[in-house]
C-alpha cells in the first residue's frame, strides 16, 4: 500500500532485490560449474557461438548444464508455489505439494509401468524411454488429480479432502510397496533412484513441454493468488468477498497438481522444498499476503533448487548426489536457524 507505509516494507524490498540477484548469480554459477571442469570462457563460447566450442564442451554445456539449470529453476518455483497453495488451502503446516497424492500417483504409475508391466513386455526400467516414463508419471499424477477433483466436488469439506488425499497416497504407496517387493534388485534400484529425484535427466526436447506446463501452472497460481488470500479468512469470509469458494478451490488444486505433477513426472518426487520454502518465506517476509508470499516463494524456491543443484555436483564430487537429499540437508539448517532466531513458527 503506497501511502499507508508499512514498517517492514523497505526490508521486504531489500529481500526481494537480494534474492533476485542471488537467483541470477546461482543460475550462472550452475551453468559454469559441474563435475567436469570447463573454463568459464569455454562455457560462454559454447553458449554464445556453439560452433566454435569443442564438441565435448558443447555437449556438456548445451546438452546437460543448460537444461539442468533451467529445470532446477522452474522445478524449484513450481514445487514451492504448489506447497504454498496447499498449506494455505488446508491451513495445515504439514501440507506440501504432494499432499493430494500427486507424487504417489506418479510413483504408482511409474512403478506399475516399470516394475510391473515392463518385465512382461520384456522391457527394462533402465531402458524405458524417458518420454514414456514421463508420460506415464504424468498420467498417474493426473489420474490422482482427477480423483481428488472429483472427490472435492462431492465433499465440500477441506478436512475430508485432506484426509482422503492422504489415504489415496497411502493406498498408492501400498501398491508400490507390493510391486517393489516382487521386483528385481536392479529394477528396484532404478525405481528408488527415480524417487530420489534428478534434475539432469531432462532433455532439451522435454524442456519444451515442461517449461510451458509449469508456466501455465504458475500463471494459474498467479491468477488465483488473490483467492488464496481470501481462503486465509476462512470459507465464510471468502464467500462474502465474492470468491466462488468451490470453483476457486478446484482451480487451485488443478494448478498445484499441474505444477507438482509435471515436476514429478520429469524429475521424480522432489520433496523437501515444497514444504520448507513456504515456511521460510513466511518467516523471512513476515506477511500473510499471498501477493507478496507468492513472488517470495517463487524466488526462494528457484534459489533453493539452483543452490542445491550446484552443491549436488560440486567439482570435487565425482558423482552427483540425489537432489532430494541435497535440498533437505541444505535446507534444514536454514529452517532450523530461522526457528531458533524467531522462536516461533507462524501458525497457519
Amino acid at each position: 500500500m503506497r501511502s499507508m507505509h508499512i514498517p517492514g516494507e523497505k526490508r521486504e524490498g531489500l529481500l526481494f532485490g537480494l534474492f533476485s540477484v542471488t537467483l541470477a548469480l546461482l543460475f550462472i554459477a550452475d551453468i559454469l560449474s559441474g563435475s567436469v571442469l570447463i573454463p568459464a570462457g569455454e562455457v560462454v563460447k559454447a553458449l554464445l557461438s556453439p560452433p566454435e566450442a569443442a564438441e565435448t564442451v558443447r555437449t556438456i554445456v548445451l546438452g546437460f548444464r543448460l537444461p539442468k539449470a533451467i529445470t532446477a529453476l522452474v522445478a524449484g518455483c513450481a514445487l514451492s508455489v504448489a506447497g504454498l497453495q496447499m498449506q494455505t488451502i488446508f491451513r495445515n503446516p504439514l501440507a506440501g505439494p504432494y499432499v493430494l497424492g500427486i507424487s504417489t500417483g506418479a510413483s504408482l504409475a511409474v512403478a506399475l509401468f516399470a516394475l510391473g508391466f515392463a518385465p512382461v513386455m520384456a522391457l527394462g526400467f533402465t531402458t524405458t524411454g524417458s518420454w514414456t516414463l514421463a508420460v506415464v508419471a504424468w498420467a498417474g499424477a493426473f489420474a490422482v488429480m482427477l480423483l481428488v477433483l472429483f472427490v472435492s466436488s462431492r465433499v465440500n469439506d477441506n478436512m475430508t479432502v485432506l484426509i482422503l488425499g492422504m489415504l489415496f497416497s497411502s493406498a498408492a504407496g501400498a501398491v508400490v510397496s507390493i510391486l517393489q517387493y516382487f521386483s528385481s534388485e536392479s529394477m528396484l534400484k532404478a525405481f528408488i533412484v527415480w524417487t530420489m529425484g534428478s534434475l539432469g535427466s531432462i532433455t532439451t526436447d522435454q524442456l519444451t513441454v515442461v517449461v510451458p506446463a509449469i508456466l501455465a501452472g504458475l500463471l494459474l497460481a498467479l491468477a488465483k493468488m488473490k483467492d488464496l488470500n481470501a481462503f486465509l479468512l476462512g470459507e465464510t469470509y471468502a464467500r462474502s468477498l465474492g470468491v466462488s469458494v468451490f470453483r476457486s478451490r478446484l482451480w487451485i488444486f488443478f494448478s498445484a497438481s499441474l505444477l507438482a505433477g509435471t515436476v514429478t513426472a520429469f524429475c521424480g518426487p522432489i520433496g523437501f522444498i515444497g514444504i520448507a520454502v513456504p515456511h521460510l518465506a513466511r518467516v523471512l517476509f513476515r506477511t500473510a499476503d499471498h501477493r507478496r508470499l507468492l513472488p517470495a516463494v517463487l524466488l526462494l524456491g528457484g534459489n533453493a533448487m539452483l543452490l542445491s543443484d550446484l552443491i549436488a555436483q560440486l567439482p570435487g564430487l565425482q558423482a552427483t548426489l540425489p537432489i532430494n537429499s541435497v535440498t533437505a540437508l541444505l535446507g534444514i539448517p536454514v529452517v532450523v536457524w530461522m526457528i531458533v532466531r524467531n522462536r516461533k513458527f507462524a501458525t497457519l
Binding site: R239, L241, G242
Partner: protein
Amino acid sequence: MIAQATPYTLEADHLSMGYPAAGQDPGFVRTGISFSAGRGEMVALIGPNGSGKSTLLKTLAGFMPPLGGNIRWLGKALASHHPRELARLISFVSTENLRIPNMRVADLVAYGRFPYTGWLGRLRDTDLDMVRQALTKTGLELFAHREVITLSDGERQRALIARALAQNTPFILLDEPTAFLDVSAKYEIFQLLRQLASGEGKTILLSTHDLGIALREADKFWMLTAAGCFQGAPEDAVLQGWLNHLFDNPHMGFDKKGGDFFFKTEQAGSAHLSGNGEGLEWTRRALTRLGYAVVTAPPQEEEPGPGSSTPTLPPALAGKSPQPTISVIVAGLPPDTLEWNLITAHGKEKFHSLHALLSHLREIPPHP
C-alpha cells in the same frame, strides 16, 4: 393518509432456516419468517440466545441454504445474484475469531476492497482512501500496522467492522458487532452505522443484545422471540409489549415508563438512609445491592459530638422492625468528598468510602 412505504431492498419471505441433521430431523431453527428492510434503514435483529439471529444472518447472506421461502436482495432472488455481485452488495461481519498470524490490521481492512480490485488485488488510490477512512471511522488509525492476532478482543472486533466498512456495500450485515466493545466504542459504532444508514442510504442489519443502545439508535427492530416474530420501530416493539417476550425470567421485566429493565431483588434487611447530595442515591443503590430494604429520610442532625451519647436508631425503624437495622448518614465534606456515618446496634462508625462501609457491613449479617 397514504403511509408511503419505503421500497424494500431486502425481503425475507416465509423463510425457513436451520441445520438439517444427517437423517430424520428437519433441523428447523425457525420457519415462515417474513421480514423486510428498506434503503437507509438501520435494523436491529433482537432475540434471546439461540433464537436464530446468527442463523438468519447467515441464511440471508447466502452462507447456508434456506430450508424454505424466498430471500430477495434488491428485488432479485438471492440465488440469482452472482457471487461477485453479492460481494459488492453485502458485507458481513461474523462472530468468528480470526487468528491469522502475520496479518496486519491494514491488510485485514484492505480485504474489504477485495471485490473491487483486479486479479492482482492492487489497491488504487480510491481503495486506499476507503481503507484509511474505515480505519479512521473505527478509531484504528494507530493500529494499522499492528498484527491482528495481538489485538484485544474489542480492538479486533473494531478491525472486523472496519473491514466491512471498507467493502462499502449498500447492505451491511453484522452479527453482534458490539459484543466486546466498551461503552464508548459501542455508542460510536452505532452512531457510525446510523450515519451510514441515514446519510448514505445503506441498509444496516445487525444483531445485538444491547437493547439500550438498539432502542435508542435502531430504525427498526426485527425480533425473534418465543412468542413469534415482530418487525417494526423499536418503540412499537416497546409499546406492543414485545420486549417482555425476550425473557421468561420472573425476576425481570421491561419497564415501559422508564425505558429500562428492572430486576426484582429479595430484601434481606432494612436500612435507614439519610443525608444529602448525589451520594445519597448511590449509597441507596449500594445498600440495595447488599440486600437492605432502604428507607430514605431527611438528614439527621449533622455530626453529633463524638462519643457523646449511645447511638440510637431512628424511632421510625426501631419500632417497626424486629431485625437489626442500620442507619447510614451521608455527609458531603468540602472539597467534594463524602463521609458515611453508620449507626448500628453495635455502635457508630465513620467511613470515607462506600467500599469501606460496604466491607464493614458485609461482616454484619443482615439476619443474625
